[in-house]
Symmetry: C2
Subunit: 348 residues, 2 copies
């Protein structure tokens, strides 16, 4: 009764265990899952047999019976942006504690890639989805809903009551960042934003405009558009330097852009923070570890991942029906890139 696989391995099934223990498969299933009443003796016998045959249950078969795979998809633009690994850790920590596995999906912000994932994930393979992408459309949410797959969206509020969403006060954070630059004496403050299609990116730009939008020197040319990565930040910062050599403060839409801006400033000969003060957004670990360390708007990255997974579990396990909307607070972390009058070396 033991199946030989073509590869040469041997697959022990619940049937083999039942035979070995002299009981039915139902009984074996019960001891494995600790369900129903069983006498100490039969339990011992079954456990003995499981050990002897070094049996491990086939989770695929179990999943099919239970209609539950204990797998969850984590969809991100790209895991190479350090923001997402930090969040992934939180998601995975909660997932593991609850017996779930994480499927990693990178979309590169491409609608096509995203749509492929949604299609493949609706095939009953995952029990739920955590998504961090501006590619989600209403129709996706409906398809997911139809297949009974709950969704938690992070950092992206698609206005829908089909999914729980978790975001931060992007606009307020951006305002804090820009006001901080004003307070330390910056008089020409530029902004490097992320892609306009990104909701959070747009919010951060508006926060910046809330502060400088009415000042006499301001016009659109003070806003540069970058992608959320270092290289793009570096390039756009240089464009701003040549357009506005008098710039003395930059609020960057994320920390990676800020790191690129630091590099551009260094090459351009601008001293940080005295010639140019820089503020980032996100509060990734790296923001503290660069030279100079970055002033930034801290999102509670780990907490967001944790909350997302916890909410998703509630929905998957049917204890909750109504999607919720979280909007979390952010903090301004003041570090070297804006510390003009500190005891630290003033410039790099």
């Amino acid at each position: 009764m033991v199946n030989r696989l073509h590869g040469g391995g041997v697959l022990v099934t619940i049937r083999d265990v039942a035979k070995e223990a002299g009981v039915s498969t139902a009984t074996v299933s019960r001891v494995i899952n600790n369900k129903g009443k069983i006498t100490k003796e039969t339990q011992a016998i079954v456990e003995r047999a499981i050990k002897d045959l070094s049996y491990t249950p086939n989770v695929l078969a179990r999943s099919l019976s239970n209609r539950k795979s204990y797998a969850v998809a984590f969809i991100v633009p790209t895991i190479t942006n350090p923001f997402f690994p930090e969040m992934a850790r939180a998601v995975e920590d909660v997932a593991r504690d609850n017996g779930y596995n994480i499927l990693l999906c990178n979309t590169d912000d491409k609608r096509e890639r995203f749509a492929e994932y949604i299609t493949s994930l609706t095939s009953q393979f995952v029990d739920g989805i955590i998504v961090n992408s501006h590619n989600m459309e209403k129709s996706d949410l409906e398809a997911l809903q139809k297949h009974n797959i709950p969704v938690v969206m992070i950092d992206r509020v698609l206005d829908s009551d089909l999914a729980t969403s978790i975001a931060v006060k992007n606009r307020e954070g951006a305002r804090m960042a820009t006001e901080h630059l004003v307070e330390i004496g910056c008089e020409r403050i530029a902004h490097i934003s992320g892609m306009e299609e990104e909701w959070n990116s747009a919010q951060r730009m508006w926060g910046y405009r809330d502060v400088v939008g009415d000042l006499p020197w301001f016009d659109q040319s003070w806003i540069g558009k970058a992608a959320f990565n270092v290289h793009s930040g570096y390039q756009v910062a240089k464009e701003i330097f040549s357009r506005h050599p008098e710039v003395d403060g930059i609020f960057c839409a994320n920390d990676l852009i800020a790191i690129g801006t630091v590099k551009a400033a260094y090459e351009w000969g601008k001293k940080i923070p005295n010639d140019l003060a820089i503020v980032g957004f996100d509060g990734i670990n790296m923001s503290e570890q660069t030279v100079p360390s970055l002033t930034t708007v801290l999102q509670p990255i780990y907490d967001m991942g944790q909350l997302a997974m916890e909410e998703l579990i509630k929905k998957m396990e049917d204890k909750e029906e109504k999607p919720k909307k979280y909007v979390l607070d952010v903090d301004l972390l003041i570090r070297e890139s804006t510390m003009r009058s500190s005891t630290l070396q003033k410039d790099i």
Copy 2:
């Protein structure tokens, strides 16, 4: 015949499609999988029905029948080390092109966590495993083998013919790095190594010793032990500075440690590269984006991930039996952190 899920959703099965099209489930299965001969007409009818019911096959059921889940585990110490996201992208790119999904597993270098994953993964949930961890033991490989789950190990050569391994010339790379420091004039060269249990970490240390081990000033106190992250590198660098203020070059076992060393040097008032030249290892993207940019030993990170997944696919699809051992070349990338006589600003 349509099943109503408790959540309110509706699950369309192959049976519903068959009924709708007036054919057997076997036929539906054949058109879905493009197997066997079918007339154009029945195919059209079936496709019509699939569309009308917006049917998607249940991959769990398919997996159970096929004994193939099209899922692969990617096991890493922690995805927050940027080395792994870069590799994960390669793995996922190849995986996606071949219809596989990636399960993300962080072990934090803990044997216990690792063992839990191995146990859970042997339950037929994944078709193969790519592992980057020094926690793998011979018994794990045997268990995996027993369950017919092929393994590719990266950056870690556990001497076994049960798994394919992919590594780089760690010792040679370390030698190149240290020799480079000698060549630019460093006379007291320290090393900050990773954890000793790590095979690659040990190799890099030996490469360093190959170059400086016989010099009169050398002793064990020139080697600091860190974990593979920025904060640890920062701390150990400071220890070295106070133990050996005369240090003028440091070879760090990875780029994160090097980034921490840059920060420590900055705080300590040591100018890079003239007071202190620094070389890292790995060649993560960030190594190019710091100020100063880091001289480093470049591993072909993306290629390694790609190769790993390609090899794994071969093994999963049974075209290959014999495990292989790859040992790839590395390159020394010379950048600002060791450019003592360049036209760049000399110091930061």
